[in-house]
């Protein structure tokens, strides 16, 4: 059984609810002449779980690394825990945990030596625990206790990722940046990861997550944004985002069937002809009502609808539409 921070401690968080932990205004980030982020605005409240989604190359990691203080913004303003993450690094870093998308270890150190080194470089534990206690607890929570004496180069990819998470969360930070934390993890490790992160979030830690696993964002994020081509295309709570996305009815009929009368029913179908059938896709804001119309139409024409599906709006559908460049 895993032991999570909230099960062990009373909160020591020095943050105030309903205040802003991360803010960006007109944020632009460039690599030479290439602009990766084109002037985004972001506002993340203290204690919030915020997911930043997007296709590969959308600008998520650049945005995250700018918020973490790894690089200065090319223009615009950034504020993290009340300071500039790049210039006020010395004040801000003790309060944040960073799990980079890709960061390594000294391969010849053992897992325990790696943790010990990290703690020797970090501010004192906010709850006053000594290094041995923090390490033992962290290794136990992330199921790495049996690997304490193993050199890092002998760890699997998933074990390295968990060690990565341990270092980011060891000090139970006020603000936690997670850049694709569960990539390459097996289901059990993913569950352990989210147990730990959720417990920290429950305890007051603000979490900023990027992930390609949309179901993780759906399950854990209070709010989310989808980036595309260096800009934020969609932002809001999951309900807000899905409210703007239509449900979809789809089916196929024989190519000889006249499907144009569907338009007369007040529907707006898209038709995709195949060699023997016509694929019909119907975006709808009233799934039940329009499904009833379609089935009635099919019944009255004695048609069989092949591959019939009716699906509610989903984050995956929003993501697909955004990644194709359609505006939200």
């Amino acid at each position: 059984m895993t032991t999570t921070p909230s099960s062990q401690s009373t909160s020591t968080r020095a943050v105030e609810p309903d205040t802003i932990a991360v803010a960006a205004s007109g944020l632009r980030c460039s690599y030479g002449s290439y602009e990766a982020v084109h002037g985004i605005d972001l506002s993340i409240r203290n204690g919030e779980f915020f997911a930043l989604l997007g296709t590969n190359g959308a600008g998520k990691t650049t945005t995250m690394e700018t918020l973490e203080g790894h690089r200065p913004a090319s223009s615009g303003t950034v504020s993290v825990l009340g300071g500039d993450p790049y210039r006020d690094k010395a004040s801000i870093r003790p309060r944040i945990g960073i799990m980079l998308q890709e960061a390594g270890f000294a391969d010849d150190l053992t897992v325990e030596e790696t943790c010990r080194l990290w703690l020797r470089l970090s501010s004192a534990d906010p709850r006053g625990r000594d290094a041995a206690e923090v390490i033992t607890h962290g290794l136990d929570v992330l199921d790495l206790a049996g690997k304490a004496s193993t050199r890092v180069k002998m760890l699997s990819g998933g074990q390295r990722r968990r060690l990565d998470l341990l270092l980011a969360t060891a000090a139970e930070p006020d603000l936690l940046f997670l850049d694709e934390p569960t990539t390459g993890l097996d289901p059990e490790s993913r569950e352990r990861t989210w147990d730990l992160v959720s417990a920290l979030n429950d305890d007051g830690t603000t979490v900023v997550l990027t992930t390609h696993y949309l179901e993780e964002a759906e399950m854990y994020a209070d709010r989310l944004a989808i980036m595309h081509d260096g800009a934020i295309a969609v932002e809001g709570t999951l309900a807000d985002v899905l409210a703007r996305e239509p449900a979809v009815i789809a089916f196929e009929v024989d190519a000889a069937v006249d499907v144009l009368p569907l338009s007369a029913l007040g529907l707006e179908p898209d038709f995709t002809p195949t060699p023997s059938t016509t694929r019909v896709t119907l975006p709808t804001g009233d799934l039940q009502g329009d499904l009833w119309k379609v089935l009635s139409w099919a019944d009255s024409h004695r048609l069989h609808l092949d591959r019939l599906s009716a699906s509610e709006a989903s984050l995956a559908a929003v993501f697909r539409r955004v990644s194709l460049g359609a505006s939200a």
Binding site: G82, P94, I98, S123, P126
Partner: protein
């Protein structure tokens, strides 16, 4: 917006962080037999070899200064410059530099932590070699503080030059190539200074020239004076310049 009020201000000092990184790096060096051999045994072996091939000239102060210079260059260039370049390139390739930078340590702390054990290890080697030369009867320097300053300055120069070279070194293997120009330049300029070719002033502005100038003064071959101070400034400049460039252009992660 929250005020910038850390929950805990109790953190390790910069010196404690440098020490933590340095001890980690030392542990890795000791564990890696190839690095240990290259950084410790080979330079000492080369010093012994140099002593035996030049033993007949060591009664003269100039001979001792040249032996001292050659030994210092070999040990520092292999032990500090090459090792610093290799270490920084390796840690960058492992993405460990990026990891360290994601924490609370400043850039300077990370550089000092990575380079200090390398310099200390070589300084210890030089101390052993110096004792060995003393026992073997090599002429002692007339101005030991000048020699000490030259040694420390050259070690620092090798460390900052290693920092700079590591920027252009994508891997540990590539360090065998990327370090060659600087090694050739230092050794070449050390010998260039000895030639009466009309470019003495220019030759003394080189790192090898400044080093030889200081060592010759240290062994009493040349008088202590303005040219000694000039050589010290040149050596200092060759230490600071690579640091300034490296600090601005340093690469923390692989391409």
């Amino acid at each position: 917006m929250t005020a910038l009020t850390p929950a805990s201000t109790r953190g390790p000092s910069a010196a404690q962080r440098v020490l933590a990184i340095a001890l980690m790096e030392l542990r890795i060096i000791v564990r890696n037999k190839t690095v240990l051999t290259g950084a410790v045994i080979m330079p000492v072996g080369m010093a012994v070899y140099l002593y035996f091939i030049g033993a007949d000239q060591l009664a003269e102060p100039s001979g001792a200064a040249v032996l001292g210079g050659l030994t210092l260059m070999l040990v520092a260039l292999l032990g500090v410059y090459l090792t610093a370049t290799t270490t920084l390139a390796t840690r960058r390739q492992e993405l460990f530099l990026k990891r360290l930078r994601s924490g609370e340590s400043s850039d300077t702390v990370i550089w000092l932590g990575m380079l200090t054990p390398i310099v200390v290890l070589v300084a210890a080697q030089l101390a052993v070699i110096t004792a060995g030369f003393g026992i073997a009867g090599v002429e002692a320097p007339a101005q030991p503080l000048v020699v000490l300053g030259a040694v420390l300055g050259f070690l620092a120069l090798c460390a900052t030059a290693g920092m700079l070279t590591s920027i252009y070194t994508p891997s540990a293997a590539a360090a065998q190539i990327t370090t060659l120009p600087f090694i050739a330049a230092v050794v070449g300029s050390f010998f260039w200074t000895a030639f009466d070719d009309g470019f003495e002033f220019a030759s003394r502005l080189t790192p090898g020239g400044a080093l030889q100038n200081l060592l010759m003064t240290g062994w009493g071959v040349e008088p202590l004076g303005a040219s000694t101070a000039g050589a010290a400034v040149v050596l200092l400049a060759w230490t600071v310049l690579p640091y300034q460039v490296a600090a601005r252009r340093f690469r923390w992660e692989k391409r």
